[in-house]
Symmetry: C2
Amino acid sequence: MPGPRTLHLNAFLYGVGHHSAAWRHPDSAAERIGDITYFEELARTAERGCLDAVFFADGHSVNPKYTAGTTWFLEPLTALSAMARATERIGLVTTVSASFFTPFHAARMLASLDHISGGRVGANIVTSMFDEEARNHGFDALPPHTERYARAEEFIEVLCALWDSWDDGGVLVDRTGGRFLDSDAIRPIRHRGKHFRVDGPLTVPRCPQGRPVLFQAGASETGRNLAARHAEAVYSVAWDITAALEYATDLRARIAAAGRDPGTVAILPGLVTYVGRSEEEAWAKKTELDALLDVDAAITQLGVFTGQDYTGHDLDAPVDDLPPIEEFTGPQGRYATVQRIIETRRPTLRGLLGYLAAGGGHATMIGTPESVADSIEEWFAAGACDGFNLMCPAYPDSLDDFVDLVVPELQRRGLFRTEYPGSTLRDSLGLKTV
Amino acid sequence: MPGPRTLHLNAFLYGVGHHSAAWRHPDSAAERIGDITYFEELARTAERGCLDAVFFADGHSVNPKYTAGTTWFLEPLTALSAMARATERIGLVTTVSASFFTPFHAARMLASLDHISGGRVGANIVTSMFDEEARNHGFDALPPHTERYARAEEFIEVLCALWDSWDDGGVLVDRTGGRFLDSDAIRPIRHRGKHFRVDGPLTVPRCPQGRPVLFQAGASETGRNLAARHAEAVYSVAWDITAALEYATDLRARIAAAGRDPGTVAILPGLVTYVGRSEEEAWAKKTELDALLDVDAAITQLGVFTGQDYTGHDLDAPVDDLPPIEEFTGPQGRYATVQRIIETRRPTLRGLLGYLAAGGGHATMIGTPESVADSIEEWFAAGACDGFNLMCPAYPDSLDDFVDLVVPELQRRGLFRTEYPGSTLRDSLGLKTV
Ligand SMILES: Cc1cc2nc3c(=O)[nH]c(=O)nc-3n(C[C@H](O)[C@H](O)[C@H](O)COP(=O)(O)O)c2cc1C
Ligand SMILES: Cc1cc2nc3c(=O)[nH]c(=O)nc-3n(C[C@H](O)[C@H](O)[C@H](O)COP(=O)(O)O)c2cc1C
């Protein structure tokens, strides 16, 4: 019996925060981004706030020439396994590249982690983005976009078949009869596809959630169609409620067209928050981080994004509207984002650079617990989303702020849980155990 | 300055023990072989005994028709990551198949685990054994033995190059200068080999041990040569001191021929122990496990190994010597093992089945703490090994027995440490940080 709709909130962990200059703050935990206890603490904070899950993005390359910002460090599956033991209820979502893992490795590690965590695992299936990543795994370059997505689709089918290759109760432990396993409950899968050949069964008995929860994060048509067919939760990008509604409406139509119930897929746009006990305090937090930006580099980058030259522009003066997008010949998506930020927020130049430095196109809410909760409630009530993927600009502080200031306000309004409804991520997301 | 030579002892964890019938014991932890807390407890027991490391073997297939014994369950990298957080000093060694992992995945996860554990990781590089495993990773069958080993050799070279792609101090965290990384300390590896193409650098900064410790466990000529060139510790098989000496002498010659110092490679044969406060108590432990064997199946298998028909043979009567090996046409290795067990131990039929059911050819010592320590000392003093890979017949009991009864005796004799010499596995093994 479904109760009233509840928000879903994930904490998207990334180094010391999603603001690219956050690490330069004197108090930042930049020295600790390889320290597992730092991530355990973040997970415990998120769990204190009853968040659905913590989430790691992932990439398979670093650029040794890019030294100005933080980079990958711990590998997510190993990190989440340790974090599983430091927490009890919070979900643990990792990103898995269908382009680089064999489905057997991925299915196995995710199932193992689901056992270790007592049923709290989700997997964000992506197709990866850079040729540099492909060159670390034996390819000369990434396969074309459609081919990567075709592989990802088959990848997901194999994952599910492997997770289903053991029934519940496959481990009998019948001491007297001398049967440890029940052979009727374990089946090969004999998958023969275009991209994979996998006999199965999995080496891991059926996991607590049956199958770990499948997330998806691709924005393209192909990505949305994959999500429509397979995802149980989706990470999306939307600067404002209009864009979010547009995306949600589109995705829900695709989900329905794929024969599934759109009510069973949580749509979670990224959300950057600066929260203070007053509006001033909230803005001061943004200003303080923006002040740490390497302004020259950011202005050069903004020039590439917009075709405008901002050198010499007063950092504290508002930025003018951009020319109509038709006049711009570079990538349209990024141009439209900058255009929208300028039109909706009327930022100073430094403020604009700051929006781009944290989230860069993801929703950004700045204010008191009440005003941020108002915005969250507005998006949620409008059906623009089912919750958010929190992209805290500076960990751990912005997460503490969200958990200690915003969560209680959301709870007061009956929008968010005050305790976990069960022990698994599926329980938190209101999904059936498959 | 090297002190006196010290024994090295690893606990080879495997389900509820290396005796194939151990799970049928009424007190066995068979229900817990998917429970991470069970493995955490074992690791803490091993750490209480100051053992060098816990070790997981690994395989990539299960046979759904083989239901009479325990099987794989948790995946080792995820399991060890959790166990790292439940322990402080003990090494964590996993088996990694060079046939199925890309070297980038393996190097990355092992480095991540080395950070998470504070420098306690070792990797036993194997080439895998079954076509069923290959068929879970996209192959029709395992590549031929020599090809697998050629791949493993290149695999190790790529692992090392990736681990070396970051110097110490690559993570600068220079807030004022705005440099998070030191670009001079991070290099691509641009590996172009016969089996792998990997650009690098790794996504993980240099790990606490520099490189995780490399173990090897292959017994063939090719396997030994690989060990001679790359291994820092070796898992071997020897029924008695003669066989162990033969192997150690051969391997040390190969290590010297490869231009390395044989004193820097720890040779660790498998060792099954049944320990009691009296000889009777020790033997009773073996007898109790042997009594749980499925005798019909074991006799059938022994028939295949030896070409003899033991049906109807009195289970409690001694087994006669086998005919000369020249008269046997099946696999010679297993025949020789059975022959040796009969000649050296004069077991009853049930006792023989029990030796084969636990370790099956690995050294087996049965007795009081003193007599087991005598045997260990004898092997060690003779240079037949540098320690042992403990294959406890029944976890947790046999490990408790070893740690509580044998370890103190070894410590009393000055053969084994009473505390960890440092914080890393390299410290315990007396290896330099590379
Ligand atoms: C919130 C979010 C997180 C993402 N995380 C990753 C990631 O960690 N790794 C990755 O390779 N791609 C990530 N992506 C990108 C896509 O999932 C996908 O791999 C790639 O961009 C191609 O998809 P598309 O063309 O459909 O957008 C993410 C996207 C979003 C919106
Ligand atoms: C103690 C020990 C443990 C081993 N563990 C594994 C293992 O976990 N997985 C595996 O595939 N092979 C394992 N092996 C076998 C070999 O390492 C190797 O993969 C295979 O047998 C081929 O090597 P060989 O022909 O040189 O013996 C182990 C061997 C020994 C002695």
